[in-house]
Symmetry: C2
Subunit: 156 residues, 2 copies
């Protein structure tokens, strides 16, 4: 599959600037990338339309809002259920913040976040209740060294 990059070097700079601070004014960003306010606005609008920018957002520190526990849960689907169905079901489990289908011994890898370690048990029961899922293995996060780093485009 050929990589389809939907952005040029100026878009990359705009994305990097807004990734660091989503509220930098278009005038300020424009000054950095050598474009007018209106041109930056137009590019941002188009990147939103094309899905390059999914949305404007905020980065929240999970610990400050009571989400103190993280685990990665590897999931096995031996039941022959469609990955799509399982994915849809897992999307409904609010503790599952991220889901990837993976190669290897397991089929899916979920990033789970809860208030407390003891809540993992309930989440695993919810996951195992989904038809097709036969087994899970959890890797408990002791400490998150870093995450949610601002996107840096145009580097190594």
């Amino acid at each position: 599959m050929q990589v389809i990059i939907q952005t040029d070097a100026i878009d990359a700079k705009i994305l990097t600037a807004l990734g660091e601070d989503g509220r930098r004014s278009y005038a300020e960003v424009g000054a950095e990338v050598g474009l007018s306010t209106a041109a930056v606005h137009e590019r941002v609008k188009k990147m939103l339309e094309r899905g390059v920018i999914r949305r404007f957002s905020i980065s929240v520190d999970p610990l400050t809002v009571g989400l103190n526990f993280t685990a990665f849960v590897a999931i096995r689907n031996d039941g022959g259920a469609h990955c799509r169905d399982i994915s849809a079901r897992l999307r409904e489990v609010s503790a599952v913040q991220e889901l990837h289908s993976v190669a290897g011994e397991y089929d899916l890898l979920a990033k789970v976040r809860t208030a407390h370690a003891r809540d993992l048990e309930a989440v695993l029961l919810q996951i195992k209740a989904i038809p097709g899922i036969t087994r899970t293995t959890s890797t408990v996060v002791l400490n998150t060294e870093f995450e949610d780093q601002p996107l840096r485009l145009g580097e190594g």
Copy 2:
């Protein structure tokens, strides 16, 4: 360790609203949570000061900017090096977007993103060059079902 939640129910609603759309106006958010524009502004300012909101940002679809490959790399530190030193070194590897210290067979779990699968080799060489790191195991992501979901506070 006791959970220290730095936010009340109104803050949670503000965080949820801004997580969905970081550019919703404070007036609009205020109407939803039953507060004036100025009060929402004040609360957001305080949450930024306390580090609840790390920053305003954008969510970018990695595929549209040429980051087509994701892997989770489990890392073993048998060399007795301090986790802190290794973490600092891994922070310099730009492909490493996320790093957690974990319980189990491995000591660290990194989320790695590159343009192409073949780039993983170079990243692994960079990682293995760090003193203390003796072994890695990579889990290749075939497809990201979902990630970067807007934070939903005050649910199950």
